[in-house]
Amino acid sequence: MRSNLETHTPIFALTSGRPPSAVSAIRISGENIFSLLSPYLRAKTPLQRRRRMFLSEVLSPVKHKIDEALILSFVSPHSFTGEDTLELHCHGTKLIVKEIEKLLLHLGARPAEPGEFTYRAILNGKMSPRDAEDLGDLFLIQRPVDLHAFHERRERSLSDQIDSLRRDLIRLQSIYETAIDFSEEAEAAHFVSSQSLREIQSTVTNLIHRYEIIKTNARPYKLALVGRPNAGKSSLFNALLTRTRSIVSDIPGTTRDSIEDDISLGDDDWKLIDTAGIRTTGDTLEKEGIEMSRLALRDSDMWLLVVDAKEGIHPQDKQLVEEFGSIPHAIICNKMDLTDQRPQCMSTKTIPVSAKTGENLLELLSEIRSMANAISETPRRDYLPSTTEVQRLQKLLPLLNELMAADQAGLPPELLSEHAAATLRELNGVTDPVTQDEILGRIFSDFCIGK
């Protein structure tokens, strides 16, 4: 948005219900709009300068009736923009909307630039720039859990993770400062800064990563099927899709040769992913296959380990369970029609099924569904950074890398401190500025200072 927008002309925009729709809402904001518009309204009660809602005829510049509309009036400063504001709820036809817009242009109003209502809200002190940024983020959010995280963030001004990031950096700097200001007095504790630097870096990376996921979140939840070749993943994949399709009818047809497909589980849309595909023998390719499965797994919200009932659980399977045990998962013991064996694996829930005969498939589905519901109902504990915060965090990474390089090169503490200070300055944009007193406070609580 241009930042040099003039603020004298009334502005308008279609805020909801692009025609054709039942109702279209047009918002008009600006000084004098009540007196400007009132000659073109024919209400049962006269238009008054107070916050209310009333029904009125809307007339064209030549006083022909355009429509009968519900009108909401907000009197300055009690409106979104802080200016006098009207909202016209008219019938959502292209013609009516166009005619009303013509009327507004005739009255000297102009179409709002994107974000201009918010801009005026900021200028009029109705909203802080920070609130406006948040509002922007709200439009990125797709999943209920993320919405929850968003509101959590709005309520708590600082997240635990960013807060702890800040504490770690302050601690780091306090150690450099102790080495300088109290070199004689404090018997500085031995401290491996590279270790805590790595931890700080991984916190930053995780926060950014989490945000990236949300941003690209046209993405539904992902359910991955993994397992050894010939465990029957593909037949299970097809069986699950067919089953859900026969139950849920409003899913449009999809391509059959894709290894991903939409599936509806519980209240949410999920993506079912078959991680199979590589069936060639040969060590290198085998490894590659496992690596690809890992990638899919890492990104999944839930996964099913498919094992061949006859073969039992392979060491590789166990490894996967160990590695990705933190993501909700279950073991599917496929081909139960061919054997009576029921391999057990650790404490993981094991569900016997036959993709071929369809035996136990419904039970499996209901199991997955309840797992899916549990997932979408559990808000993630992760902190969801805002767009501006992520931009800052991204700037933080190269600074952290420089700090790590300086640390490894054995630079003296006053220079390491410069790097740490630059990093903290960047973080300041995310959180409250760090005052010298906090660093000193850290020093005095960690080291026995004073001769």
């Binding site: 720039p129 400062e177 300088i180 200001d181 005052t435 000193l440 001769k451």
Partner: protein
């Protein structure tokens, strides 16, 4: 008779008062120093040393401006030591042990020999203020019955710990600002009456020990630097014999005695209400807060060549005398120790420095200046530096010249004053290098380059000293130019030299300055790459400045950018009438703080504790809306 409005009065003869009085008189303004006791002028009330990390920088700055502390320290120092020598030169600092008797004596002599300066013994009972302007003081001569008024143009108050001073030793309390001296009672009430908010602070000092009763044989010797490096940029000399200090330590037994007697410490019994400094804790504090530490280091420092008193650095305490003796005797070397004077804590009144301007003038009373411990600081150097600034500005006030203000990017003194007057204090304020965000540029070695020009312009630095400065500056410039202009081509011989120094060979021609940037090379290494010996200064003090500037260049550039950003924020003025309750997006706490402080610019606002960049943006938006100006980035 001279118009009284052209005179200034300094109240208090501590380290701040001495600098203030000398500054005023040297700038040509008739100056009177009033002190409770003439014999106690320039007394070192606590440890017998000058300088230290961060403090050494202040002493050098005092010196570069034309003050006395550094010179006095050079002539009366008995052990000199550079600190942090294994770190970069930005954080290296000077410190010396002083002969405290000679230190005070030489300072008193300097005062009495300075033209325009007169000393007066007695107490200041009141301050004469008319229409918000200083007119003079009410002076009580000890020899006369009734007080009299002394009129003047400006007053500097530097009364240290003497305002409502209360000394604690065990459960016994005694009024007084320093051992064996009376407090000054009336001045606190007078300042309160004039609208100052008073703070209650606390400080402490250890027992003094008799040298003859200490067995030094098993203790670690702490030697000074050889040769010692002096403080002053002027032609001073270190002429006193140099002595050793000793190192001992407390042990479990010491800590047990202290733990068992905590209830007798006025600090822990609740008798002391004032807030002490966290960086200079009493031994009681150290034992309580760091129970895991088996020992604490204690430095034994001789107080004077002519006295047998030893200062045990690290043992500040307010425990009763018998307990002090008991725990002292558990330290190696002190088994038979005799205490010359017990340690004690002192509570005193300070004013809230938020009520001062950057020239150390009271915001609400023109020509009234305050400096030193009364402003909530601790330390001789902090006091001296403030005294100097307050003295300069008192003199400039009566000369009708604009006040001298130093920025955070110019001097530690600027950082300290800015911290005091914009943030206030919650504990006695001590200088640390970490308080100076531009410390890579604020070094001891370039204090003169930063400040001597100013010192000369305001008429404080003498012509001779200024001439010395100009010569030094020229040598530095010549060497810098030489390094920037001299190009070295890759040769077998030169590359062999580089490799032998652990560096990499030159691939293409580079200037000496570029080569010096390599962390592994020193200036001497770099100069050795040139065949014909350059006609530049070989003085270490010159080479050091030049070398460090080259080495730090990248970092200093970043700091300069940060300075510029601050200056931009400085340009966004905030009117005192600004209604912060009208600005959306500010927390109530921030609103309240801003309303109280009335920052004069966005830069000032950015220093208010707890303010966020988002809050600054909100203020900027608000102000911008009122007056559409160019927007600096926040």
């Amino acid at each position: 008779m001279l118009d009284s409005s052209l005179k200034i009065i300094i109240v208090g003869g501590g380290h701040a008062g001495c600098e203030a009085a000398l500054a005023g008189a040297r700038m040509g303004v008739p100056t009177t120093l009033i002190s409770l006791s003439r014999d106690k002028i320039a007394e070192m009330s606590c440890n017998p040393s000058i300088g230290g990390v961060g403090k050494g920088q202040l002493v050098k700055e005092i010196d570069a401006l034309g003050g006395e502390m550094g010179r006095n320290a050079d002539y009366t120092g008995i052990q000199f030591k550079r600190l942090n020598t294994r770190k970069g030169s930005a954080v290296q600092s000077s410190r010396c042990q002083s002969d405290k008797v000679l230190y005070a004596k030489r300072m008193r002599e300097t005062l009495s020999q300075t033209p325009n300066l007169s000393l007066l013994e007695g107490e200041v009972k009141g301050l004469l203020v008319e229409d918000g302007e200083m007119r003079g003081v009410v002076f009580q001569d000890p020899a006369s019955l009734s007080p009299r008024e002394i009129l003047c143009g400006a007053v500097v108050i530097t009364t240290g710990t003497f305002m409502r001073g209360l000394m604690h030793c065990g459960s016994s309390q005694r009024r007084g600002g320093r051992y064996g001296e009376l407090d000054s009672l009336g001045l606190s009430e007078e300042l309160e009456r004039l609208g100052f908010r008073l703070l209650r602070l606390k400080t402490g000092t250890p027992a003094r020990l008799l040298r003859e009763s200490i067995d030094f044989s098993g203790l670690t010797v702490q030697k000074g630097d050889d040769p010692p490096q002096k403080f002053s940029f002027a032609e001073t000399q270190i002429s006193l014999p140099q002595i050793d200090c000793y190192l001992t330590s407390t042990g479990i037994e010491t800590h047990t005695i202290i733990q068992n007697n905590l209830s007798k410490s006025p600090l822990y019994s609740g008798q002391i209400k004032g807030i002490g400094p966290r960086y200079c804790p009493s031994i009681e504090d150290k034992v309580v807060k760091f129970p895991d530490k088996a020992r604490h280091l204690i430095f034994l420092e001789p107080e004077s060549l002519s006295s047998s008193w030893i200062y045990p650095n690290g043992l500040s305490t307010s425990l009763p005398q018998d307990v002090q003796e008991q725990f002292l005797r558990t330290l190696p070397g002190l088994e038979e120790v005799k205490v010359a004077r017990p340690g004690y804590a002192v509570e005193y009144d300070a004013i809230d420095p938020l009520q001062l301007t950057h020239s150390l003038e009271a915001r609400h009373i023109r020509n009234l200046f305050l400096a030193g411990q009364i402003n909530g600081t601790s330390g001789y150097e902090e006091a001296g530096a403030q005294g100097l600034l307050a003295g300069i500005n008192a003199a400039r006030s009566v000369m009708k010249a604009p006040h001298l203000k130093l920025g955070r990017h110019q001097a530690y003194l600027g950082v300290m004053v800015d911290d005091l007057v914009t943030l206030g204090v919650t504990e006695p304020y001590r200088m640390f290098t970490s308080r100076a965000e531009f410390r890579l540029s604020l070094r001891e070695d370039n204090a003169d380059l930063r400040l001597s020009e100013i010192g000369y312009e305001i008429g404080l630095l003498t012509k001779d000293d200024y001439k010395l400065f100009c010569e030094r500056k020229k040598k530095i410039h010549t060497l810098q130019t030489y390094l920037k202009r001299t190009v070295v081509k890759p040769t077998d011989k030169g590359n062999a030299t580089l490799v032998s120094l652990g560096s990499s060979p030159l691939a293409y021609p580079q200037t000496l300055a570029q080569i010096l940037k390599r962390p592994e090379l020193t200036l001497a290494d770099t100069l050795a790459l040139v065949d014909t010996p350059p006609t530049v200064s070989h003085q270490k003090s010159i080479q050091d400045v030049v070398e460090i500037e080259v080495k730090y260049e990248g970092y200093i550039t970043i700091q300069r950018e940060e300075m510029k950003r601050l200056e931009n924020l400085d340009k966004v003025g905030l009117p005192p009438s600004l209604d912060y309750s009208k600005i959306a997006g500010l927390s109530n706490e921030i609103r309240q703080k801003l309303t109280e402080r009335k920052p004069s610019s966005l830069a000032d606002a950015s220093k208010v504790p707890g303010i966020t960049p988002a809050a600054l943006t909100a203020i900027l938006f608000h102000v911008k809306r009122k007056s559409p100006l160019a927007t600096p980035s926040v």
